[in-house]
């Protein structure tokens, strides 16, 4: 027995070392981004490169907000994130509707929802642009937000979770005279907190990162998101890597912070929703 324990310990040590090495390799881009973001413009082009900034500065970050419009891009991004939470509520409602009611056409409609998952974004991009152009919504915030509100995958996950909520719970509330929407908002939402946590994070990430659609629809830079702003920066300040790294850090760090608070819910949520 002792030799087997020993063998296990050696094995675990090897796995741990491999994990740490791999993790370090995976993190190099992030480390390099953060270190370079604090270097002055001249230092990022030094060869051989310095690892740690010799004259650390926050000037790059100041530059983003004073000389560039990152404040506006930030506000637009926040608006998109908030709007996508309204979409999250719609998806949850739909998931609940599909899971807990039987009604005419349910299975056909649900199949329709699933079918939309298989349509590549590039197929719908052009017609959605034509549609929005027809109703005059190109270059508006509404046009940026609307197409992303309903997400089939999200409806699917909500439905998977809602099916596990006991019917008796809902029946009991109905007998007490609660209305259907009251039941959903006061009973189901609290019960479904774990799945809301997962989807909330995913929705936040998707909204915060939204790039290609705002780029297509917005022609005014007052409607640009942080991603679009950052891609402009890459074009205009091609050789100022310090400034680019500061912009990237500003986009990436909030996500990392939020994610590290909530990451355990993501694994649990995926385990729960039965994708295995």
């Amino acid at each position: 027995m002792a030799s087997r324990d020993n063998k296990n310990r050696i094995e675990k040590t090897i796995v741990t070392i491999l994990l740490v090495l791999g993790g370090f390799l995976v993190s190099i881009p992030f480390l390099w981004m953060i270190l370079s973001a604090f270097k002055p413009e001249s230092e990022v082009l030094a060869f051989p490169p310095t690892i740690f900034p010799e004259n650390p500065t926050i000037e790059n970050f100041v530059h983003l907000f004073t000389k560039l419009d990152f404040g506006i891009y930030f506000m637009n991004t926040v608006i998109i994130v908030f709007a996508s939470f309204v979409g999250l509520l719609f998806n949850a409602m739909a998931g609940y509707g599909f899971a807990k009611y039987s009604f005419k056409g349910r299975d056909k409609l649900f199949f329709l929802v699933l079918a939309t998952m298989m349509i590549p974004g590039q197929v719908t991009m052009i017609p959605v642009y034509l549609l929005l152009n027809e109703v005059g919504l190109t270059n508006t915030m509404v046009g940026i937000i609307l197409p992303g509100l309903a997400v089939a995958f999200s409806i699917f996950l909500f439905r998977q979770f809602m099916t596990t909520v006991p019917d008796d719970l809902i029946e009991a509330a109905r007998l007490d005279g609660a209305g259907e929407f009251y039941i959903f908002f006061r009973l189901i939402i609290p019960v479904a907190k774990p799945i809301f946590a997962v989807q909330g994070i995913l929705t936040f990430i998707a909204g915060w990162n939204s790039f290609i659609w705002p780029l297509i629809i917005a022609s005014d830079d007052s409607l640009y998101t942080l991603s679009v702003g950052l891609s402009l920066l890459q074009g205009q300040y091609a050789s100022n890597f310090a400034l680019q790294m500061a912009g990237a850090a500003f986009m990436v760090i909030p996500i990392i912070i939020i994610f590290s608070f909530f990451q355990k819910y993501i694994v649990e949520g995926f385990t729960m929703s039965g994708i295995k």
Partner: protein, 298 residues
Amino acid sequence: MNRLSGKPINKFPYLFIAPAVILLVIFFIIPIIIAFGVSFTDMDLKGLANFSNVSFVGLENYTDLFSDEKFLKSIYNTAFYVVIGVPLVIISSLSVALMLNYGSNWLFRTFRGVYYMPSITNIVAIAVIWGYLYNTDYGLLNYILSLISIDKIPWLQEPTIAKISLIILAVWKGIGINMIIFLAALQGIPKSYYEAAEMDGANRIQILFNVTLPLLRYATFFVTVTTLIGWMQFFEEPFVMTDGGPLNGTLSVALFIYKEGFQFSEFGYAAAASFVLFIMIIIVTLVQFKFSKSEADY
């Protein structure tokens, strides 16, 4: 309450699903019908301004596509990405998940986060950071290589190397989400299976191949299908890193569609290309489902 049908409710389910379903119909179902229609026309900017400028051209867009060298090249590149990228993503995310499943202390939890991080990172930020790492003259990668006396590599300047560079980046980004799915599946395997195998005297390797991997079949199938579909639509990496260059060496089908549609405003032509992509994805997905069914037979 509707006494006639005996059911207590009937309008509520529709009220619950209406907002999401209506949005999906407007932004997915109707567009795909429009795309199909537009793909038989010569719709461009003039057509966008006034529909009388649009005329029906039958299958011309489709026949043009298959004699368009750029389009054929984009198909070749996409196949290159898929053939190399998909197995790489699956093998690396599975290996990371297997290693992370070894323990559950803070170290393993932290590294779970580390490996997941790239997949939640904004693609533009990634392009900016990797563009700097890949820079031929000032990049960190070439500097590290110079330390071991390897000549500068033109990471993004030579068509084939540029494709590989994009694959490295996309694999780095793709590990996270798939690893989480594998990890969720691994945690769902009952401990008793392992104990039984150990009692039978199976060693680690035997357990891996005879117990763990077969039980991960569904997760592997899910990951393979979604990864494959994702890589067939490979778009953002070449779009932000190379814009399809050098010499269209990194141009993917999805990027071809975007460029024809939104840079050259050839909506009809782009819509036809998007349908070709759609059909390719459907075929590949169906083949996989077929394949997985025959595999489950034994």
